[in-house]
Symmetry: C2
Subunit: 237 residues, 2 copies
């Protein structure tokens, strides 16, 4: 399980989210028995299903508890507040993304830049096709969670990986401002793939979008068109 931190203090605070938000984004209490671990999963599943079905509007703690078949009380035993529920959901999603990314950059040294770029993009596509609707709601309908430093941390780690990869190949690149290029590239891929989930699902699934994106990014970085052009799919394979 993923509960890194736990047990934030509970500011006695009644009424609906007052001035200062509750406080944690991580689970309040580590479930110890199997029973409660199952409950936590039940709750998270219900939360995801509600978000997908009704959007952030429908996402109320009472509703989540009901759908999960548990009481609100149980929900609040493991999640200090509504936000923490979203937090855990996001953490899981993001972890998936990061795993794939790490695997690819790990052995990028032995392959041409174009291949790595393509692999990264295809990995991003793959990750975005897992429960895409949840992903969409999570990142564009959910009000921006205050002080979610882990999010920035995640983005920083991703950027860092890409940076290491590109710096190692600096001589092969034709961009002047590497820093800016990294920013542009990572953002473009992330946002384009993300946006495509909602607007170009077919092209995402068919791989056409990844193909075009790869071409765009590779040419931008290296200054020359990637080898393959006419035959849309690589010969090998």
């Amino acid at each position: 399980m993923l509960y890194e931190q736990m047990l934030r203090f509970t500011t006695r605070n009644s009424g609906r989210m007052a001035k200062a938000k509750k406080s944690g984004v991580s689970p309040r209490k580590m479930p110890a028995q199997d029973r409660s671990r199952a409950t936590v999963e039940l709750i998270l599943d219900a939360a995801a299903r509600i978000l997908v079905k009704g959007g952030y509007n429908a996402f109320t703690t009472n509703r989540v508890a009901e759908r999960a078949g548990v009481s609100v009380g149980s929900l609040y035993q493991y999640f200090p507040n509504k936000e923490s529920l979203l937090g855990e959901l996001m953490r899981r999603h993001v972890a998936e993304l990061e795993r794939g990314l790490a695997a690819i950059t790990a052995d990028a040294a032995k392959r041409p830049i174009a291949d790595t770029v393509r692999a990264l993009i295809e990995e991003s596509v793959r990750a975005h096709l897992i429960d895409p609707e949840l992903h969409r709601v999570l990142s564009e309908e959910v009000p921006h969670l205050g002080s979610l430093d882990w999010r920035h941390a995640y983005e920083a780690r991703c950027t860092q990986r890409v940076r290491e990869f590109l710096e190692a190949r600096r001589s092969e690149l034709s961009v002047t401002d590497l820093d800016l290029a990294i920013y542009l590239v990572t953002r473009t891929v992330e946002t384009a793939v993300h946006d495509a989930v909602g607007h170009r699902a077919e092209d995402l699934r068919s791989g056409a979008l990844a193909e075009e994106l790869s071409r765009m990014i590779t040419v931008y970085l290296t200054g020359k068109a990637p080898a393959v052009r006419r035959p849309l799919k690589v010969a090998a394979e």
Copy 2:
């Protein structure tokens, strides 16, 4: 003024936004005297300021009215519901974007593709630098307004303009799927510029980001690097 449509029926509906949303997104009543026109501006200004300062969280009708120095009643005389306030704010923002775009695509025929691409991108940058914080809140913090067909209409119009421009130059392009290319290009520019407002404001203002983006898009579309390379700024000028 911009009030295209007006005076939607008022479903007697008490309490906080029930199941079926109120109904309109456009002003309820056309202000007729100068006095009320001023009130409307006051309200919109207050709304914008509140959104910028406190985000969507702080955006409540009571607060807006208070900040505007008018009563809630007055607010609801011109805006049928909270959503319509956001609607008008967005409409104004978007109108600005569209004006610039139209002007550029209008006389794109006589200029090289690279120039038009660049002009479009720079225009986008310019538009995003007007009250950037409001722009940000509006498009990423505001819950997605239901049935905001004008938004899709706007995006469609923009895409259409770009399509006409690119189709006229079809022979100069090296992309295979023009439709996909248009999608990719418009989204990339929009999202990259948008994202940069929050994360790369300096590069936006300096023009560096527009420079890089232009290069990336142009090369992608035409298949060959734009004329200028070493000298970062165009010689002429």
